[in-house]
Amino acid sequence: FSPVGKMFRAVVRLSTSGVRNLARTRPCYSAPLSARCYSHAKVETDEEFDARWVTYFSKPDIDAWELKKGMNTLIGYDLVPEPKILDSALRACRRLNDLASAIRILEAVKDKSGPHKDIYPYLIQELQPTLTELGISTPEDLGMDIL
């Protein structure tokens, strides 16, 4: 028989025994509570996430780049931001004297809601005090929500 064949068989034998060893040393807890091998990293709660973003936009001397970066990142997430985060972002727009971006943010969150048509009216309802205080018109008020 060819030595190559013998080598191959030896490799296979080693690998199967190796697999068995791996199975033995894997740190799987058999306790009833943690029956799965989840990562032990700390998961940020929703409140922590919201607080972090509110703080980000609340920076008094926030600059235009930071606003852009923050908003683009936030819209990149698989979620619709909470009204308090948007409130903070709109106030950041006010500090930057940027009405256009404020309206753009409202358009963006409406688009983020996707098929869930009830999210955007809720957001506007929650943001109404801020919108009237700062004088931000919604895209609907300006007739920009239709072609």
Binding site: L99, A100, R104, I105, E107, A108, K110, S137, D141
Partner: protein, 177 residues
């Protein structure tokens, strides 16, 4: 200087996005069609209209005339003092398309379906030509007379008499069931 020709950017993104990305719209009031390929200067901040990235690196209109400048000055004051038209004007200074305009349906599907049918038509013509000029004559076994004799032979042999061919033939009345 980082220059990217339109064609090369077209490979990365669709041509429609490239058209939106070029800074010609804001920068040029008179249209210069002498250039064959439009170069996008990738070392400068770019404008884009994207649903997933609402705030681009630069505003749509960079070069402001005096009315725009006075409007921008008014923007520094309370926004309650701005009229609706002024707010719309401020938006249009900073952005090209609104979200509904970005999401507007295009008529591209008509081009696609039309193109498909044209290709089918050409293919059909090619097939017709080939049927006439390329294919050899049909074997004699395809003729009407031969086929009839073949069917009779198959019935005489009782091909598939239980569930198949001959099962459909009524031998008593000499007709199909």
């Amino acid at each position: 200087m980082l220059h990217l020709t339109k064609g090369r950017v077209g490979c990365l993104l669709s041509r429609r996005v490239v058209l939106a990305l070029t800074n010609r719209g804001a920068r040029m009031s008179s249209h210069d069609h002498h250039e064959v390929s439009d170069k996008v200067d990738m070392s400068q901040p770019m404008y884009w209209d994207r649903l997933d990235t609402p705030l681009p690196d630069r505003p749509w209109k960079d070069v402001l005339d005096s009315t725009d400048k006075s409007l921008k000055q008014k923007e520094k004051g309370p926004w309650t003092a701005l009229s609706k038209e002024e707010k719309i004007a401020l938006y249009r200074l900073k952005f090209n398309h609104t979200y509904p305009e970005m999401k507007r349906p295009s008529h591209e599907w008509k081009t696609v379906i039309g193109g498909m049918f044209i290709v089918f038509g050409i293919t059909g013509l090619v097939v017709l030509w080939q049927c006439h000029y390329v294919y050899p004559p049909q074997p004699h076994t395809f003729g009407e007379e031969w086929q009839a004799k073949q069917v009779q032979r198959m019935l005489d042999m009782q091909i598939n008499p239980i569930e198949g061919f001959s099962a459909q033939w009524d031998y008593k009345n000499k007709q199909w069931k």
